[in-house]
């Protein structure tokens, strides 16, 4: 029955339209705005479910495709479609947005309509990024998506929000500009803005290198990879809880998605040539950033640094493919890396989202993110403590939680590339546990530290629901990741086939 229904368009425009309605509602009707936002996000989530249930397994072809000309002069099309890479990320987006709307229910007291409108519009635009098969369309969504985020941080953010926003803007803006140039160059080569046409285009080494570097800068900033990561801790610290959740859960995934959709298939030879660059930066992220996370005094900063370290696994998993192929002569280990990287993206979306929500729960009560201001929270908030310990352990990659799956696969894969890669990556077992459990120890355990902690009230129903739902998914994905792996498998195998063939012009 959905065969003709433009599902992807609905996922993009319904929330944007909902956001417009909210703006029109104005600031006097806060409650109406909340309800509208919730309803719209729920409907969007529900209509995204057929993407999963109706998704045809076993093929790498684009599905739910919509194709219409848009700007015919430049052969720009309104072309949407999903495969095993983008579909899980869209579901993650629609799911997390519902949670974010619920999370902002009481916490946001000023400019309520605008707050929720920003999130709904951003949801639509993010879905657009994942669904776009036309490079121009992709670029438009890619840039537009940032505007609501700047606004969320800039308006509802903390005291240093302007500095954070500017830093965020500068980083991402410079990144994107290079990408735009590359896309236009590719258009001139292929005569089309179709991303899938870019995939098939032969290119010499020199242009591949330049394109690769341009993409790298755009995507590395988003991931973010070391050394272009310093905007993230600031952005997180200043962003309101909902902003942090979206930033960590979805926006960081844009970079990883970009590597899979653009860098690897469009410039496979340059990727092979420069894979060491990404691998090195990823391993630095795991070790260096892991150590930096250890000494943070601010809960949000700590989780932000932990995000960077975990995203290191994503980029590592994506770029070990060439070394694995060179060493083993087979693509099996490379598939482990790609699958692991993708699972890590989805899992990190859930876990980091949950951890930022946990910090939000505490911040709403104590108005502090400083670790030193807490201690013994488990005494007054036992339910909350149970959740936070669960998510902390998931963050430390405990088997049985989603956090384990991606790291496990990437470590298995990277051993096949080079045992030393696996060695450095596996240090996360110790470092990740160290910074997360030390956080837990200082915040949750011990005697009640002060009057503020003594007066804390445990989770209310709304918060319990949020964390409970996330906990269920974190555990489910950890105990049985097969459905997710199955959905992604054929697409990633196809991608591996693509990158194992040289595109150099003969």
């Amino acid at each position: 029955m959905f065969s003709d229904f433009p599902l992807l368009s609905a996922l993009i425009w319904l929330p944007i339209f909902g956001g417009a309605v909210l703006l029109w509602l104005g600031e006097e009707r806060g409650d109406a705005a909340r309800v509208t936002a919730l309803v719209v996000s729920l409907i969007t989530f529900v209509i995204s479910l057929p993407l999963f249930t109706g998704f045809e397994r076993g093929t790498a072809a684009m599905q739910f495709v919509e194709l219409r000309p848009w700007i015919e002069t430049f052969s720009v099309n309104y072309h949407l479609g999903v495969d095993g890479i983008s579909m899980p990320l869209i579901l993650l987006t629609t799911f997390i947005t519902v949670l974010v709307v619920i999370a902002g229910w009481d916490a946001i007291k000023t400019r309520v309509s605008q707050y929720f409108a920003a999130f709904l519009i951003m949801e639509g635009l993010m879905n657009g990024v994942f669904a776009a098969l036309d490079a121009m369309l992709f670029y438009v969504f890619w840039e537009a998506m940032l505007i609501p985020m700047f606004i969320i941080i800039g308006v509802w953010g903390g005291p240093r929000r302007v500095y954070a926003t500017v830093k965020f803007f500068l980083y991402t803006f410079f990144g994107s500009v290079f990408m735009l140039v590359s896309l236009i160059y590719l258009y001139m080569q292929t005569g089309s803005y179709e991303i899938l046409d870019f995939h098939g285009q032969s290119l010499g080494m020199q242009p591949q290198i330049w394109i690769f570097l341009a993409f790298l800068f755009a995507f590395a900033v988003k991931v973010p990879m070391w050394p272009v990561h310093t905007w993230l801790p600031d952005a997180h610290v200043e962003a309101p809880t909902g902003g942090s959740v979206i930033l960590a859960a979805i926006m960081l995934k844009m970079g990883g998605y970009g590597f899979l959709r653009f860098s690897l298939p469009i410039t496979p030879d340059a990727s092979r040539e420069l894979d060491w660059l990404i691998i090195a930066a990823s391993l630095v992220a795991v070790v260096y950033i892991g150590l930096v996370a250890l000494v943070q005094q601010d809960m949000k900063k700590l989780i932000a640094y932990s995000s960077i370290a975990h995203m290191g696994f994503v980029t590592l998993g994506f770029f070990i493919a060439f070394a694995v192929y060179a060493r083993t002569g087979a693509l099996d280990g490379a598939a482990l890396g790609l699958q692991g990287g993708m699972v890590q993206m989805v899992s990190h979306g859930l876990i980091s989202g949950a951890l930022f929500l946990c910090v939000g729960v505490l911040y709403d009560r104590m108005h502090s993110r400083r670790i030193d201001d807490y201690g013994g929270v488990a005494n007054t908030m036992p339910k909350f403590a149970a959740f936070m310990v669960l998510f902390a352990l998931a963050n430390a990659g405990l088997p049985g939680t989603s956090g384990f799956v991606g790291e496990f696969l990437v470590i298995l894969g990277s051993f096949q590339a080079n045992p030393w890669f696996a060695f450095l990556a596996a240090t996360t077992l110790v470092l990740g546990a160290a910074y997360t459990l030390w956080l837990v120890k200082r915040v949750l355990y011990g005697e009640v530290a002060n009057e503020g902690v003594a007066a804390l009230e445990d989770l209310n129903r709304r918060e319990f629901l949020l964390l409970g739902v996330l906990a269920v998914f974190v555990l489910l994905l950890g105990v049985w990741p097969a459905p997710l792996l199955e959905v992604m498998g054929p697409t990633l195998d196809h991608l591996l086939q693509q990158i194992s063939i040289s595109k150099l012009v003969p």
Binding site: W13, A144, L170, T230, I289, D332, F408, Q416, K441, G489
Partner: protein, 651 residues
């Protein structure tokens, strides 16, 4: 049978979930009833399985339950391998766990976290069963880490105590160092064999052992040596071998029932079990076996020494556990896997007994654990005293007691082995017998004999513990005394483990010993012809002289050997190195990377270096807060939407 195996695993899990999530609703009674019922079901079924497999009524089982995931041609599954090795572990684990569950009713009855505690120990039982019943490396690692987490939660059970929450983090992190090696070992297994399934990997073991790997330029390692050493690093963490042993003594911060269950009888033996399970791999690398042997011997002897200077009753038992785990590891190193498993089983009973007896003393002493404030307790607590005494005799290897059979077998095996390092190991375990007897009876004498050193208030309240505490003691005392007689024959020389354990013919010391084996009685008689029995007697005699006959002497000895004493009291300075060197160095590195790397170099040079740009942009962005630009930006988005929509509709 599949249903039975599932029930064995799931019964404790269901109990844990009910007690954990609905603890308030079902109350204290409900929580302990449901968890004890779950573990009881597991225990009964485990013994049924053990006997069914032993009698041959049921064939060993190796099946997949469900496919966890498939990636890159690698099937990752969850499944069970039930043979004599795993069913022995299942029976041991569930039995000790059941005893500890019952005991907990008495030990924790005043604790506000009663339900939570039951949920944790049932969850632990589930995790441990998943570990031992696994037929693949993935599930093994799951169980491996899951028991670690439950141990973390339980050591920190009293989370208000600073010492407890330090100890639990330390335990988890040190275990994670081991797991780091373990996971790399699994990655190596996958790389060299392409599978996670035990049987598939074992089938390719010769092929693996034929490969070389270049880890550092110019050094060639046998692939099997690499795999086995990496896997053994995991075992060193979990089974607390030097230098990853540091967490175990501190883990005594947890409530005593879990010291018995987790930190003596079950979890810490996971490493021993794992190496036994992996015998088809370890047998192919003599280098790895030598490493195992030397580490085990070092742990057995040097950790025993530390037991002599401890005054906390639980810590004495903890150091004894370290030392005994060293014995088991020595057995692994000399390829006497069956001997290691034998000692594992007997040790599970008598060490759980000793811990629970110590716990009983602690209850009576109102949670005082310092033996210097005890003494003369035997007349107040006869059941505890006698059961503890039986446990102690089993531990020191008194002829005829359970520990005698298993420990003597290990010493003989080390004597017979030709693996490099076997000499060192032999002397370590032989001298270790004296040390064991000394610290064990020092504990018995200081606690139960001699002058009553407690204050008047405590003395007036001294009484034997209730039945829920003493009955498990008695039930554990029975196997501690007798089990050796029945098990030595089949375990060591009767092919009990069958195909579950593989020993290369040229390493097979147990068969060598078996040639001169003429039944348990003969084994006892032979024991009197070896040094170890007399070393044990000497240890008891010295302990008696120092702590009963001349209690003034220990102080003199301490002063005479002050430098040695200082080394022992500082536990060979392992903790100091970790806490004063490694931990601060790590944090220091983090701080440098953060302040110098991120703040000064990247932000300073890269980002704020373009300060003018920042200034310009903040000028623009200042308008953001006025609200104008805000609306303007939204207008842009809406405009974009309209534009795309218009183009579409115009078609």
């Amino acid at each position: 049978m599949k249903g039975i195996y599932l029930a064995i695993v799931l019964a404790p899990l269901i109990g844990a979930i009910l007690a954990g999530l609905f603890g308030h609703r079902i109350g204290r009674r409900g929580a302990h009833s449901v968890t004890i019922l779950g573990v009881a079901v597991s225990t009964v079924l485990s013994f049924y399985v053990l006997f069914a497999i032993l009698s041959g009524a049921v064939a060993p089982f190796n099946e997949t339950l469900y496919t966890w995931g498939v990636a890159g041609g690698l099937r990752m599954e969850v499944g069970f391998l039930i043979d004599t090795l795993s069913s022995t572990m299942m029976a041991t684990v569930t039995f000790v766990s059941l005893m500890v569950h019952i005991y907990t009713i008495g030990y924790m009855h005043e604790d506000p976290g009663y339900q939570r505690f039951f949920a944790y120990i049932s969850l632990f039982t589930f995790s441990m069963l998943m570990l031992v019943m696994s037929n693949n490396f993935l599930q093994l690692f799951f169980g491996w880490e899951a028991v670690g987490v439950v141990s973390y939660l339980l050591i920190g059970f009293w989370f208000k105590r600073p010492s407890a929450i330090f100890a639990n983090m330390k335990a988890f992190l040190v275990n994670r160092v081991g797991d780091f090696g373990f996971l790399l070992g699994i990655a190596a297994v996958v790389y060299f064999s392409g599978s996670l399934d035990y049987m598939e990997v074992f089938a390719r073991s010769d092929e693996i052992a034929g490969q070389q790997v270049e880890i550092v330029q110019g050094t060639h390692w046998n692939a099997m040596t690499l795999i086995c050493i990496l896997l053994f690093i995991g075992a060193m963490g979990k089974s607390a071998q030097v230098p990853l042993h540091v967490w175990l003594p501190d883990s005594m911060e947890g409530p005593t029932p879990i010291s018995a269950l987790i930190h003596a009888a079950t979890m810490v033996t996971a490493g021993i079990f794992m190496v036994s399970r992996m015998s088809p791999l370890f047998e192919l690398s003599e280098v790895a076996l030598s490493v195992v042997l030397v580490i085990g011997a070092t742990t057995a002897f040097f950790m025993g020494l530390l037991g002599i200077v401890q005054n906390d009753i639980k810590r004495v038992v903890a150091y004894s556990t370290l030392s005994q785990l060293g014995y088991m590891t020595v057995a692994l190193g000399v390829s006497a896997y069956a001997g290691a498993m034998f000692h594992l089983v007997t040790h599970a009973f008598f060490k759980a007994l000793l811990f629970l007896a110590a716990g009983s003393v602690i209850i009576a002493m109102h949670h005082e654990q310092d033996m210097r404030k005890m003494g003369g307790l035997r007349k107040y607590m006869p059941v505890t005293y006698w059961t503890a005494l039986l446990g102690a005799l089993a531990l020191i290897g008194f002829p005829g007691f359970a520990g005698f059979f298993s420990k003597d077998a290990i010493i003989e095996a080390a004597h017979a082995s030709t693996i490099p390092g076997a000499h060192y190991a032999y002397w370590s375990v032989q001298l270790g017998v004296f040390i064991t007897a000394l610290y064990t009876f020092r504990m018995i004498f200081m606690t139960f004999h001699g002058k009553e050193r407690m204050d008047e208030h405590t003395r007036s309240h001294l009484k034997e513990s209730p039945a829920v505490v003493t009955i498990p003691l008695i039930l554990l005392a029975i196997p501690s005394v007798f089990i050796g007689w029945f098990e030595i024959g089949p375990f060591l020389f009767g092919g009990f483990f069958g195909d579950a354990i593989f020993v290369a013919p040229n390493h097979d010391v147990l068969t060598l010993l078996g040639e001169s084996y003429h039944g348990p009685l003969g084994f006892v008689q032979h024991g009197f012809a070896t040094a170890s029995v007399y070393l044990a007697f000497a240890g008891v005699a010295v302990a008696w002289y120092l702590y009963v006959k001349r209690p003034d002497l220990p102080d003199v000895v301490r002063q005479r050997f002050a430098p040695l004493h200082r080394i022992l009291i500082n536990k060979f300075y392992f903790d100091d190195v970790n806490e004063k060197v490694l931990a601060p160095a790590t944090r220091g590195m983090g701080w440098v990377f953060w302040r110098v790397g991120d703040t000064t170099l990247i932000d300073g040079a890269l980002v704020n270096g373009s300060a003018r740009a920042v200034g310009w942009f903040s000028g623009v962005l200042r308008h953001l807060q006025s609200g104008y630009l805000f609306h303007y930006a939204f207008a842009m988005v809406i405009g974009l939407a309209l534009l795309i929509g218009w183009v579409l509709l115009a078609r």
